[in-house]
């Protein structure tokens, strides 16, 4: 993962779609295994069988929903980057999150669209905020130990050789 970097724009859609699908598969498998285990009739064998059935039935659907979200999100993100003249900032992500939420709820009527758009925007704003906080915190430790405020300090003589 150490070499992992975000792809340039048109390919980012494919990449994000795959990443979201993977996330959905893993998360869905964990959730559905617990759910299937709890809902199955008693007996270890039956519980594990219920787990497997639940994963097989539901995890791909959850993954597919995630993938649609990720793909739509980066499609709008790339479109915004294109039309705003190559700008990639937190507003981009927030706008595309809200738009994605709205578009994907398009079949459920206008109130559902508005609600989903607000949820999407707030979610992405939170993610971006956390990201900015992490960047700030990690940038803190790479700061030079003391910034020079006075130009005279540039010529601090090396110890032992006074001129």
């Amino acid at each position: 993962m150490e070499e992992y970097a975000r792809e340039p724009c048109p390919w980012r859609i494919v990449d994000d779609c795959g990443g979201a699908f993977t996330m959905g598969v893993i998360g869905g498998a964990i959730f559905q295994s617990i759910k299937g285990f709890r809902n199955a009739p008693s007996g270890w064998k039956q519980r594990f069988a219920g787990s497997v059935v639940a994963i097989r039935q539901r995890a791909p659907i959850i993954a597919g929903n995630f993938a649609v979200w990720g793909g739509m999100f980066s499609t709008i993100d790339c479109t915004l980057v294109h039309f705003r003249g190559g700008k990639e900032d937190p507003y981009n992500s927030i706008i595309s999150g809200a738009a994605t939420g709205g578009i994907l709820a398009a079949r459920n009527g206008l109130p559902a669209m508005v609600g989903s758009a607000i949820i999407g925007g707030v979610l992405l704003a939170l993610i971006e905020g956390v990201g900015i906080c992490f960047t700030r915190l990690s940038a803190e430790q790479f700061k030079p130990p003391s910034l020079v405020e006075d130009p005279s300090q540039f010529t601090t003589p090396s110890q032992g050789y006074p001129s």
């Binding site: 990449d15 795959g18 598969v25 791909p60 659907i61 079949r107 010529t155 003589p157 006074p162």
Partner: protein, 224 residues
């Protein structure tokens, strides 16, 4: 041995030094060794953004720079190709999008057929068509995506186990993923799926490595 210098002391020392050494602020040229030939020696040593294009290090023939082909710099000992893990998300995403396209198209075809048989028109038919497309696209995308996840996991695992990344990994990963995906349908069907996947992977590897030329076949027969 370390000598602790208190803060104002150090500052004063620095100021003193500045006056002695690099005081170019008022050089009239009269008393200098170069007889005032260079009367402005007040040239900054540090780089300045406005002077960057005038850097002497850029003073060379630009035709040395290759523009026709990209020049990649690889770290020592690194593979000249991205690893399976870095390609995994792209492959999964490509499989999902391709599956959505194929499934959506076939769903649209089935929907048009079914709705014209049922004689639905207008709004009802439109909603029904959307339902068909969504259903077909989602199921195909999910299946292909899950197969690709299995394939990438198997590929990464095999690469990790064997320590190398070659065509054998591709074939074995394809066979494994297809077998696992079809395993609920029974041993026989799973085996058939695995065999088909292995065949497809072999063909892909042959195409990817430049086909079956005579030189390559001789190279396999008589390894250097």
């Amino acid at each position: 041995m370390f000598v602790r210098v208190s803060w104002p002391d150090q500052k004063a020392q620095g100021l003193n030094c500045l006056h002695k050494m690099i005081d170019f602020r008022n050089n009239s040229g009269a008393v200098d060794a170069d007889n005032g030939k260079y009367n402005n020696t007040n040239i900054p040593v540090t780089s300045q953004p406005s002077l960057a294009p005038l850097s002497p290090f850029l003073n060379f023939d630009p035709s040395y720079l290759p523009v026709s082909q990209p020049e990649f710099i690889f770290p020592d000992g690194a593979l000249k190709q991205r690893g399976r893990f870095e390609l995994a998300f792209s492959q999964i995403g490509a499989a999902c999008i391709a599956g959505a396209g194929i499934g959506g198209t076939s769903g649209l075809y089935r929907g048009i057929k079914a709705t014209s048989i049922a004689g639905e028109t207008g709004k009802l038919r439109r909603t029904q068509l959307i339902n068909y497309v969504m259903k077909g696209g989602a199921s195909m995308a999910n299946s292909l995506g899950v197969i690709t996840i299995m394939y990438t996991c198997a590929g990464i695992g095999l690469t990790w186990l064997r320590g190398t990344d070659d065509s054998f990994n591709t074939v074995a990963a394809a066979a494994t993923s297809a077998t696992v995906f079809r395993s609920p349908a029974g041993v026989r069907k799973a085996g058939i799926a695995g065999a088909i996947a292995a065949g497809v992977a072999v063909m892909y590897c042959l195409w990817n490595n430049g086909g079956l030329s005579v030189q390559r076949m001789n190279g396999w027969k008589h390894p250097a």
